[in-house]
Symmetry: C2
Amino acid sequence: MPKQVQIGVDGWVGYRPDIKILDCSVRDGGLVNDHAFSDDLVRAVYEADRDAGVDYMEVGYKASRKIFSPSENGPWKFCGEDDLRRVLGENPSNLKISVMADAERTDYHEDILPKEKSVIDVVRVACYINQIPVAMDMVKDANDKGYETMLQLMAVSVVPESEIKAALEIAARCPVQAVYIVDSFGSLYSEQVRDLTKMYLEFLAPAGKEVGFHGHNNRQLGFANTVEAVIAGANRLDATISGIGRGAGNCQLELLIGFLHNPKFRQRPILQCCRDVFVPLSKEMDWGYSIPYAITAQLNQHPRAAIKFSAGKTPQDYVAFYDQMIEEE
Amino acid sequence: MPKQVQIGVDGWVGYRPDIKILDCSVRDGGLVNDHAFSDDLVRAVYEADRDAGVDYMEVGYKASRKIFSPSENGPWKFCGEDDLRRVLGENPSNLKISVMADAERTDYHEDILPKEKSVIDVVRVACYINQIPVAMDMVKDANDKGYETMLQLMAVSVVPESEIKAALEIAARCPVQAVYIVDSFGSLYSEQVRDLTKMYLEFLAPAGKEVGFHGHNNRQLGFANTVEAVIAGANRLDATISGIGRGAGNCQLELLIGFLHNPKFRQRPILQCCRDVFVPLSKEMDWGYSIPYAITAQLNQHPRAAIKFSAGKTPQDYVAFYDQMIEEE
């Protein structure tokens, strides 16, 4: 188990140098606008992350052009090298660039180039429990090509413990650097986050791998649960600026940096990016906590019903939504 | 220590029958509009709480008319019997009516009537640490008059532990039924909430008194911290509909009821009140999480600077606010 950070009523006397933040504003936020963010926005997030001492910036997906049409999706769905270089140049900074590769939605053999030809540093493989075999092959492929690799096992709140353990046993033997607990439905409470973090560490720490946490804000627990994961020993933390993300969004990066005492992190560049980019953006794009997302989380369900409802004509008839969801249970 | 509620990845198999909810929407929300809520709003909250199985509804303050002008404050600043009866009648329900009495701001000897002449059930005395002596006299006065009494020791995040313990020792000997941990600045993290809850219980449980928690949502931890207090043994929980309250507001009642499994609580009447009353109200009144409140919380300060800033012309220049606050540190 990693050393615990000192947290208590007597003060905040320590920090854990191993903690690393990944800002997935552009990747997770891209789920709201089909990955069509402007170059200016992506560059603004890059500069804010770089100046704030954030460790990783996730710019988007490496999605298959055979499955997803480039005419219906913006550049950050595919993260081609030309698009990346147009915005990031050769990335002359310490900020590492991450892309997400969804199992069964990525032509990884062809589309993920050898590391030396790419501005990408990290491939994060995302999968559901039944996709672990293909995910392992994707991790191996990216690792062989020279990338740092991470694994996102999604929707753990509906996976039996025994199956999570089986997946962790497999992950512990593969060349992945970190495995994330992913609260896809925003349905986990703090005690569950602590138990899961300890379970992940039990399998992964002996193999020298880190545990990460990716929360959602359906019940305003995105930040709170990330703090609990830290306390339980998770060293890899996902967050987004202004909490941008699909539906209720994610853990707010500005709150997370306010919590962490690691002197390398700075809050001010993120606040500046909130003010200059995300406040104006929030007038055009819709994300953040609202009651329908709390209801799907409470039922431990994917937020798709809440997303559909929130886009409809009566997004504030919470009672109708509640009745509909209870009816369907 | 009270029996712990069963919370874990294996299920939600239990509940703690001793848990009681106090809805302070009208009292804490009144801090935003000088306690000038319409009779219709107060009645709608009353009916929602009654139907939802909420235990207490706090309607306002028993403020001194010598200190606060009735022409500058609405009726819920004073909670006169005429105003109460106009809206609640004789309160023919199980929902208990609470008022808050601030130490040194209440003419309690005169304004708090004998219980048999009042529709009020509970007097909650609020004080700072230096006001404990007067608060104890107020508790005694209300108890002697026949009321249930509770104590809110405010701003505990800036009170030395030794002084909190001294106050708890005194409170344990007075006729109060419950003492609340009050996170006035919204600055407490979960570990602090757990430690404080245990400390309060250590002094109060042997005397047969309950521990309560009143959170604020400055860092989106209002609900999360309330859950932590429950887990640590707090049985008295404050919340407000739609999280209404001064500044960043409070723990959302609708989320809290979604968390608690006590079968007497029902979520639907609260969602209905959100839809019919608080969504329209939110277009006129301003409350809820925003970055300036997160910054004052991070600095463990009263939110007054954030309130002032948020009412100004450039409420979203978070960087200017951050610089100003850091400068003043």
